[in-house]
């Protein structure tokens, strides 16, 4: 309606030959009836292009549902309102998600970077809980077993387990008895009566006390 009106109005506007000054009174002219079906079809195509996203920035839904007013008995709205609505709903969400992404505004200078990287909370703290192991003389943390002593016990245990494996000869053969480990030159005592005996071919280590 606006474009139709403006077109006709403009053509009449420029066409008033009677007076030199622009005849404003002509603007309030009679509204032409919707003239030719060709013009109507052209207007229809214009509206269609508008709605389909030629101008994606448009918030479409407000302008679309009504078409140009027609004197002819014809439907005033277009046969494809549903698709346009869905398209117009899709496009803003895609654009919105791009526009609202967080991004750094400025490059962080090396001074700022250094302040952050060398802040005392990022430097490694000096440990005050290191002692000397009284057994072996290596360093150990106060609340942790000495690494060297643990390793030596682990090695000896592995050898004992090897002997046990040789004796048992397979899985699921563990007897329901206690085990006693005897080293070179040791005899089983009365206490070791009902126990399984494992022999180790070496001198008894000083830390493995014979019970």
């Amino acid at each position: 309606m606006p474009s139709a009106l403006s077109k006709e109005a403009i053509s009449l506007f420029h066409w008033c030959p009677a007076s030199a000054e622009p005849c404003r009174s002509m603007a309030a002219l009679v509204i032409f009836p919707s003239p030719l079906p060709r013009l109507h079809a052209f207007l229809q195509r214009c509206w269609g292009r508008l709605g389909r996203g030629v101008f994606p920035g448009f918030s479409g839904p407000q302008s679309l549902p009504w078409g140009p007013a027609l004197a002819v008995q014809a439907p005033a709205f277009f046969p494809e309102p549903v698709e346009e609505a869905s398209e117009s709903n899709e496009a803003p969400s895609f654009l919105d998600s791009i526009l609202w992404m967080a991004a750094p505004k400025k490059r962080r200078t090396i001074e700022v970077n250094r302040c952050r990287r060398r802040n005392p909370n990022k430097l490694i703290k000096v440990k005050r809980n290191i002692d000397v192991c009284p057994e072996c003389g290596h360093l150990k943390q106060k609340h942790v077993l000495c690494g060297y002593c643990y390793a030596k016990v682990k090695a000896e245990t592995q050898q004992i387990r090897l002997e046990i494996r040789k004796k048992e000869g397979g899985p699921f053969n563990a007897p329901t008895l206690e085990t006693v480990v005897l080293y070179d030159g040791e005899k089983p005592t009365e206490k070791d009566e009902g126990k399984r005996i494992i022999e180790r071919a070496r001198k008894r280590p000083s830390w493995f006390i014979q019970s």
């Binding site: 990287r117 990022k122 430097l123 490694i124 000096v126 440990k127 290191i130 360093l139 943390q141």
Partner: protein, 211 residues
Amino acid sequence: MAARRVAAAGCAWPWGLLGWARPERFLASGSVFPLSCIHTSTPLEKLGKWEKKNRIVYPPQLPGEPRRPAEIYHCRREIKYSKDKMWYLAKLIKGMSIDQALAQLEFNDKKGAKVIKEVLLEAQEMAVRNHNVEFKSNLYIAESLTGRGHYVKRIRYHGKGMFGIMKLVRCHYFVKLVEGPPPPPEPLKTGFDQAKEYVQQLRNRTIANTL
């Protein structure tokens, strides 16, 4: 010799490595040449500045001079670690005695801690063997630095056929040990001291070209 060199330039590179020694020289004469005249390896690894610092020789000290403490420079090149991450460990042990530094590094979980510990032990050994240091505990870490090594670019494969280019980083580690007890740590500058310095700077200003 020059002619031989020119001929060698056209040949494969091993001849260039052997220098002026050629097998035909030995075979030509009947007697056995002393092997000290052969250069079997040329200095392919160019000595860095830090390695050369161990070679400086001071003139003998005069009788009244205080004893110059021994300085030992050691480094390791192309460690597969980041220089920024290594810097935190270097900053930790700066100014500590060598025993304290070794203790701290032993209980640190970083990958660079193991490397730096090896470097310190090597340097300690060098100090006792070559640099006339009497007690291996009487050393402290005067300087400890990291440097950037050679970087290599590789492809990192992402999903959907995307790829990124990643850098494989390497670093160098430099350490300078000095004989003697570690110096006491400097007291931190308070705000009051800084203000006093500022006021003193203002008071030291003069007007030029006047009385």
